[in-house]
Every structure is written in structure tokens, then in C-alpha cells.
């Protein structure tokens, strides 16, 4: 990543132009052609720096329920449980973390009943539990754009 890549990332994370030629617009701000910006964005995607480009919806405003869940899983069962979790499109994040419980995942679904059903299935199929369901009581910040600074 060079300084122009970082500049592009900082622009397109929060301010992707909703216009006829978005990359040409970004290009005007960083001194490149639209095609040169697009080539850099493709490279950053290929390298895994960018995960995706597109819209991020507010789950609650889309009428969905979201929650964070925690479960303690013995080390030898992590892969098995991760494979079960991978089957559910409603589960969008799953992280192995330090401490107890060690597995933390998020669920977004149309209803709380569906979330309950998924958790019950994972618990039963994976033989793990209890799974703690921790919906936010208060949300202060969801800001997934990260200011990228030079190393």
C-alpha cells in the first residue's frame, strides 16, 4: 500500500461517490484517472485489504434484529463449531478471542424467534452451551471506517 492507496481507502470507506462515474470522481481528488483508481481498488480487494464495496444497511431500520452471542468452546471443537456457524447466512461475524467464553459471533435475522432457533440448533448440533445471547441495550457507535495512516 502506498500513500495514494491509503488516500483512496480513506475516501471510499465513508464517501464512495454515488454518481455516474464514482472512480473518476475519486480520481479527480487524488490526481489519477478513474481507470487507475479502479485498478488500485481491484488490487486492494485481491490483497484482502478491502473486504467488500457496497451498501451497509442499518439492521434495525431494515426491520431486523441483531445480537452478539458468546459461547465457550473447547479448543478441539472450534473447527467443528465454526463449520456449523458457517452454514448460517444470518451469522455474519465469528471470532475466536482470548479468555472465557472464547467464541463470539453476531446474528442478524428478521425475528428474535429465528435467532433463538439458530442458537438452539448450534447448541444441539455442536453439543456446546450455554450460548449467551447479548443484544445491545444501548448503542453508542458503529463506525467501521478506519482512518488508514502510513506505516
Amino acid at each position: 500500500m502506498d500513500s495514494i492507496d491509503r488516500e483512496i481507502l480513506n475516501i471510499i470507506q465513508s464517501d464512495f461517490p454515488i454518481s455516474t462515474e464514482p472512480y473518476a470522481e475519486v480520481g479527480r481528488r487524488v490526481g489519477l484517472s478513474g481507470n487507475e483508481v479502479l485498478i488500485r481498488v481491484k488490487k486492494l480487494l485481491k490483497e484482502g485489504v478491502i473486504r467488500k464495496v457496497g451498501p451497509f444497511f442499518d439492521a434495525a431500520k431494515m426491520g431486523h434484529k441483531s445480537t452478539l452471542c458468546a459461547v465457550d468452546v473447547p479448543v478441539e471443537k472450534i473447527t467443528q463449531i465454526a463449520d456449523i456457524i458457517a452454514l448460517y447466512p444470518e451469522i455474519t461475524h465469528n471470532y475466536l478471542r482470548e479468555g472465557t467464553p472464547n467464541l463470539w459471533f453476531t446474528v442478524i435475522a428478521p425475528t428474535e424467534e429465528r435467532i433463538g432457533e439458530i442458537l438452539a440448533r448450534i447448541s444441539k448440533d455442536g453439543g456446546v452451551g450455554p450460548i449467551y445471547n447479548l443484544p445491545a441495550k444501548k448503542m453508542f457507535k458503529v463506525k467501521v471506517d478506519l482512518k488508514v495512516v502510513g506505516a
Partner: protein, 156 residues
Amino acid sequence: MGFNTEDIALIRELQRDIYLDANPFQRVADSLGWSLDRVIDRINELKAVGIIRRFGAALTPANAGFKTNAMIVWDMEGAEGFSFGEIMAVHPRVSHCYIRPSFEGFQFTLYTMTHADSEEELQTIITDLSVKSGLKRYRILRTLKELKKTSPVYFG
């Protein structure tokens, strides 16, 4: 404002893999049989009301130079006030900040997700958050492995 059936068609199109193209919104317009202006205007309206909370690129923090990613959970020691969350949320390296219920053996209820360049920077962030909030009891849950990260699919 909510969303109507025409929005659902738009939302479906916007979730497709169309952004590595010089004219992504023209492609959306062509698929829907809408004018380009109508597509752009409606996206901007959905952004304005917060149904689209952000439009753009999402990074994988570990690949973007953030080597030490951790969820820090804080014990509010029975305090009900929301001021702790407000204090922590303004920190630029805190990306997510929530209050969640406590559970068996886990009294930490204020959750902050932090992204740092290094272990040293993580410690600086934690010290900063602790001093500003006055909260002393916390646990660092460093990310050991990302097992899954996808985006939800609406109206799939």
C-alpha cells in the same frame, strides 16, 4: 420514511457484486429499468434516513495495517449512566461501542472494539479510555482468529 416494494428491488440490486465497474449505478439503473438519476436520488434518500448507514468499502483491519484488534469489555460496577459509553465512543480507534447484558460469571457490560497498529498502541488506547471514563476494571479479548466475516443479505 420506510422502504417500499420498489426499494426492495433496488436493495437487491445494490447487494450484488457490481462495484468493480466504472459505472456501477448505470448497471443498477439498466437492471431495474430506472433512470440513472432515479437510482442515485433514491440511494441518497436511503442514506439520508439512515436505512443505508454507510456506502463504500469495508476493510479487513488485520490486512489494512491494524495488527492488534481487540474487544475490550468494561465493568461499569453497577453504574446505570450512559456517560461511559459516550466518553469511549468519541475515541477515534474505537469502532464499535455498546452496552450489553451481563451474564453468568461475566460482569462486564460495556463493549468497545478497538483497532491498533501494535500492542503498545493498544495499551495506550486502553489507558486513555480508562483515564477518561474512570473505569478501572476491564478485560482485553484480543482477536485470535477471524473465523467468519460476511455481510447480511436482505431480501435474498
